[in-house]
């Protein structure tokens, strides 16, 4: 399955999908040296973003969040790539991805569906299902994801 997206930060990367239906406040919710989500109210609580393809609705909160994404990269704990769903990326995630050089795309037509605690994202019109843990390629140079 190949879906079109818009390039937010250039590059190509692949990894296992980590799917969330909630926005992430990187400053405060993600520990910058381990990549673990420490916000108890978040659906990714306790999970690590390191080397995963983070599929989520975008960021929120302080603009310092961009620098947290940069710190994750420096500690080797950043997502391999980011896919921002359904809408335009916010500036926190876009800027974070650019300075940390993490490939990122937005405007990908996926709908989120979480089943039995395992995240999955369904393609527009039921064309496919991106399951949590499934391998995804993000090509932000050409603007698409493939899984």
């Amino acid at each position: 399955m190949k879906l079109k997206g818009r390039s937010v930060a250039k590059g190509v990367a692949a990894g296992k999908a980590l799917v969330s239906r909630q926005r992430i406040s990187f400053l405060g919710a993600v520990e910058p040296t381990t990549g673990v989500v420490v916000d108890k109210t978040h659906d990714l609580y306790g999970k690590g973003v390191a080397s995963r393809v983070l599929v989520f609705p975008g960021g929120k909160g302080s603009t310092v969040g961009s620098y947290v994404i940069y710190q994750l990269k420096k500690h080797g704990k950043s997502p391999a790539a980011m896919v921002i769903l359904d809408r335009s990326a916010d500036t926190i995630v876009a800027v974070g991805a650019i300075i940390a050089e993490i490939p990122a795309v937005d405007s990908v037509e996926l709908k989120l569906e979480l089943e039995l605690g395992a995240g999955a994202a369904e393609g527009e019109g039921g064309r496919g299902l991106l399951r949590d843990g499934e391998k995804v390629v993000v090509n932000a140079d050409e603007g698409y994801i493939e899984f």
Partner: protein, 410 residues
């Protein structure tokens, strides 16, 4: 977004990695906000200066090369930069080392090392002018620049202001465009009551307005019984709106250069005397007992007039006594060293009220790690009322008028 040939060249990396990154940031922000082009800015003001807030991300700033393209100022760092002073504050060596490295990274890019949240109080007559485009981070300064000076800036984040400084441009959207600067909600203050707003009343008012309007631009209608607000009162209003809200501008007739031209919106919010009073204590859980365990003034940094007033109040309330509680006054180094403040000996006179009284430059209560051991802080700042409970190791804050803050010190 349309880029000129020169901008395109930078975007493709032909002007080096630093300018490429900066251009990528501006383009990404521009595209997200449907900007049509980049426009030149007069000055930039950068946040992300204290090691306490940006941590090891300063390596990003360290990795940048070249110089900023426009005059750029910096927010407060995590300590007074005089060695004797930061030691006295109790800042530990490892923090100080990191903080000096952060500052050196900004300086090597040509950013002014004047670390303050009130760039509009420096530089004498060289203030931003009506209609001038800026890229400022630091919400209190953004609100002041847009609402009092009539300059135009969006509420920049730390990386976007830095990118704008490096390129000398910012995407054209939001508060840079006249149509997005119009008021969208009326705020009637003490509509049928007699209120004489002064001093920290403006902190309380801003605190409420930010909470109530979110991202709507308020047209604030001050009570007719009140004298027009002073610059310092407008500074406190700006800081408090920026702390609790997410809007970058307000309108006040007689203050905001554009306010005369605008039609008033339909939506209305009312704020009464009792609402204002409630911000001063008692109503909110995080407020603390009236005596306090420390006093902090100068958020945003004190102007010369405020330093003068604090000295006057210390004389008046002290009646020959020394201050008993830790009493901090924050200001900009350029203000401390300004001709009038030095001639009057204001800093020495204030510090003569006891060893617990300290006039501190380059930093503030919230962005320094040195002030985390307090239980209850008295302040005249609505911005501190919001951030002390979040960022100061569990301390609480209580909003008081400046004279009550000073009285509490003895």
């Amino acid at each position: 977004m349309h880029l000129t040939r020169e901008e395109e060249r930078i975007y493709e990396g032909e002007a080096g990695w630093t300018r490429q990154k900066a251009m990528e940031i501006l383009v990404a922000i521009g595209e997200i906000n449907d900007a049509s082009m980049l426009i030149p800015i007069k000055t930039a003001h950068l946040s992300g200066a204290s090691y306490k807030t940006i941590g090891d991300a300063f390596e990003f700033i360290n990795s940048l090369e070249g110089r900023v393209a426009v005059e750029s100022t910096l927010n407060p760092v995590g300590m007074d930069l005089e060695k004797e002073k930061w030691r006295e504050m109790g800042v530990l060596e490892p923090f100080a080392k990191k903080q000096l490295a952060v500052l050196a990274a900004y300086k090597s890019l040509g950013v002014s090392a004047e670390c303050t949240c009130v760039p509009y109080l420096l530089g004498g007559g060289d203030l931003p002018k009506k209609g001038e485009h800026l890229a400022w981070a630091e919400s209190s300064a953004v609100l002041f620049a847009n609402s009092v000076l009539g300059a135009r800036t969006n509420m920049e984040g730390a990386p976007s202001a830095l990118a704008a400084a490096l390129i000398g441009k910012t995407p054209l959207y939001g508060l840079h465009q006249a149509e997005n600067r119009k008021p969208t909600v009326r705020v009637k203050v003490c509509e049928r009551e007699k209120c004489e707003l002064a001093d920290a009343d403006y902190s309380a008012l801003g605190f409420l307005i930010g909470n109530l309007v979110g991202d709507k631009i308020p047209a604030i209608e001050l009570p007719v019984s009140s004298r027009p607000p002073s610059r310092d009162e407008l500074k406190h209003l700006s800081a408090a709106v920026g702390a609790t809200g997410s809007v970058g501008m307000f309108h006040i007739k007689g203050v905001t250069p554009e306010a005369e031209e605008e039609e008033l919106p339909e939506e209305e919010i009312k704020i009464g005397k009792e609402d204002l009073k409630a911000v001063f204590g008692g109503a909110e859980d995080e407020n603390c007992e009236p005596e306090g365990t420390a006093i902090a003034l100068g958020c945003p940094h004190c102007s010369p007039a405020e330093l003068r007033r604090i000295y006057g109040l210390l004389k008046e309330e002290g009646r020959g006594r020394k201050v008993r509680k830790d009493f901090f006054v924050f200001t900009a180094r350029a203000i401390k060293e300004s001709e009038s403040v030095r001639r009057e000996g204001l800093v020495e006179k204030i510090e003569n009220f006891g060893v617990k009284v300290k006039v501190i430059c380059d930093t503030c209560f919230v962005v320094s790690p040195a002030f985390e051991g307090y239980d209850c802080v008295l302040t005249n700042s609505g911005k501190m009322l919001r951030y002390v409970p979040l960022l100061c190791g569990g301390a609480r804050a209580r909003l008081c008028r400046t004279e009550e803050c000073v009285r509490g010190a003895f």
